[in-house]
Point group: C2
Chain length 348, copies 2
């Protein structure tokens, strides 16, 4: 097993609003979980005034995909507490997240919950959610979408893939499984401190379905094959390629403990069936990859993040994936897990 | 009076940690006010648990200069509430502030209050403090240093200066005075909503002293003369120069209503007296200008912020100011106002 210090932590999503623009798969996948959040907002016990009514959005990225769930939850809470009670929404992500994009979106977008409700307040917390980042028993309602599939670290190299789900290396598969278990336990422990008794947390995340499928196979194949081409053409060095690892993990139902897994709605496929535009099909999945995992792969390049070679690398990788997927559009499986976690009222 | 839409709002401080590195004048000037904050922390009425104990740092920039005041206030509060009660610190600034630098500093700097006290929590609010940005009656202790001298907008051009304090244009002086009065009223109104009854807010800001002196005259002269040279040399266009306005305003004692004004400690002069290093003297004041006002001036250049010409402009302006001030080092007056504002307990 390689020394892991040479690997990179998950890189932040591509900044300057890129994640906001290219995360439609994530937005569509979140919709069923928004209904779980609405149900939680109707049922959750509320703190008596003047205690603060706190919503936490764990792993918000640039915020755009948080509008629908936060707005839906706020609407249900408003039915219970009236229009004047203050509600505070915390968006959390890693320190190098683009918080300026988050606050600009919150301040300028007409869909922002800030634009319509003067008793809503918003803040950001730029700290890893693998530690406690909110006061004990302060959160009434939590939400985390498309976030906790990212591991806290890369446990090891993957000799035959960039995504462990399609690796045949047992040692790598085992190391990723252990890391995923540890991260999930840590996440739950920290949230259980932050949640009030009776509070609820709705989690939506990539998953492995009951047949063992992580999904996205054509996308992952296209991504890996394009990278192999880039090595062959000398565009990226073998050593850079070896370091490229996407530290996401699709946990199984068993690994979540009483979750339920469900296939997401493949909006991109539905569009393709309607318009038969193969290029658009490929381009949309390539944009999905770019928004979520390209910065992590580019972190393995020898040069600094954000330089010209990194931009060229991302453009060519996007073009290669687009070309490969356009050549033979297929429906994608999109396994997702969604669950509502409830902090039991402590009777002691 | 010109159409104000061509002017730029105050630009954020130079990012990537530049403000953290070049704001030693601001840090030194804040020290006496830290004692006011400690006094406020000892005296302010505290909310009963489980209500959140909230500190707000209005206009934090990248956070480095907030460590000393926040740590001092927290120490005094800990004497009153013990070690386990949660304290939440909100750092607020405009959306385009470098919040990543703020969170990285909070997370990595060994002087950060987060590194020593596990019951402290920190968040950022990327919204203008000229609106209400925290829930009603939620803040126990407020701090604002080197921030409210920045006006919310540029009210008009300044025909003979970039800083209105040294302009002889009565119309410009009047427009800036009115804007400063309106902004101060708005700031106080919004804070009075956010502060709990009995809460205290300590404000440190540039000011005009009782003799009418805004201070910094040699720095402002060097800045203006360097810009004139740059126009003469064709490095900046006349129209760009005309747009360059630093929208800061030193309010007078009368304008603050019962403040007290005091001359700041000129640390840079004290150092010069000790080491007679004229270049270091000039370079430190040039760095002070760069950290605080260069981005605002560069916003008037025709090209986008952050491009090569903008970088060259800042480097040459810094070199010109360094050269001018090194040629004849003089002690600077540094008028500052500091005050503690107390929200009276509402007996109704």
């Amino acid at each position: 097993m390689s020394d892991q210090s040479e690997f990179f932590k998950p890189a932040p999503m591509e900044g300057n609003g890129a994640y906001n623009r290219s995360s439609s798969v994530q937005a569509a996948g979140s919709l069923p979980a928004v209904r779980l959040l609405e149900r939680a907002a109707r049922a959750v016990p509320l703190p008596p005034a003047p205690e603060l009514l706190v919503l936490a959005d764990y792993g918000s990225s640039e915020g755009h995909n948080s509008f629908a769930p936060m707005t839906a939850a706020i609407a249900k809470l408003r039915e219970r507490v009236g229009r004047s009670r203050a509600i505070f929404v915390f968006h959390t992500d890693l320190p190098d997240n683009d918080f300026t994009a988050l606050f600009q979106t919150l301040g300028n977008d007409s869909n922002s919950y800030l634009s319509t409700d003067p008793a809503i307040f918003a803040g950001a917390i730029g700290r890893s959610y693998f530690v406690q980042i909110l006061p004990a028993s302060s959160v009434t309602l939590g939400w985390s979408a498309w976030a906790i599939q990212w591991l806290s670290r890369v446990p090891c190299a993957i000799p035959d893939q960039v995504q462990v789900a399609y690796s045949h290396d047992l040692s790598a598969r085992s190391a990723f499984t252990e890391q995923a278990a540890e991260d999930w336990r840590t996440f739950l422990t920290m949230r259980s401190r932050e949640l009030r008794n009776g509070a609820r947390l709705v989690v939506l995340t990539m998953a492995t379905d009951d047949s063992g499928d992580f999904g996205y196979r054509p996308v992952v194949d296209a991504l890996y094959a394009t990278l192999v081409d880039m090595v062959d053409q000398g565009l990226i060095r073998q050593e850079e390629f070896r370091r490229m690892v996407i530290p996401t993990f699709g946990r199984t139902r068993m690994q979540f403990i009483e979750p339920f897994a469900k296939n997401g709605d493949d909006r991109i496929w539905t569009e393709f069936e309607a318009n038969r535009d193969a290029h658009a099909f490929g381009a949309q999945w390539a944009a999905f990859c770019r928004a979520s995992v390209f910065p992590t792969l580019a972190a393995s390049l020898d040069e600094a993040r954000g330089d010209a070679r990194s931009a060229t690398f991302m453009d060519q990788l996007e073009a290669g994936i687009t070309a490969r997927l356009s050549a033979a559009p297929v429906q994608m499986t999109i396994p997702l897990a969604q669950m509502t976690l409830l902090k039991a009222i402590d009777e002691t």
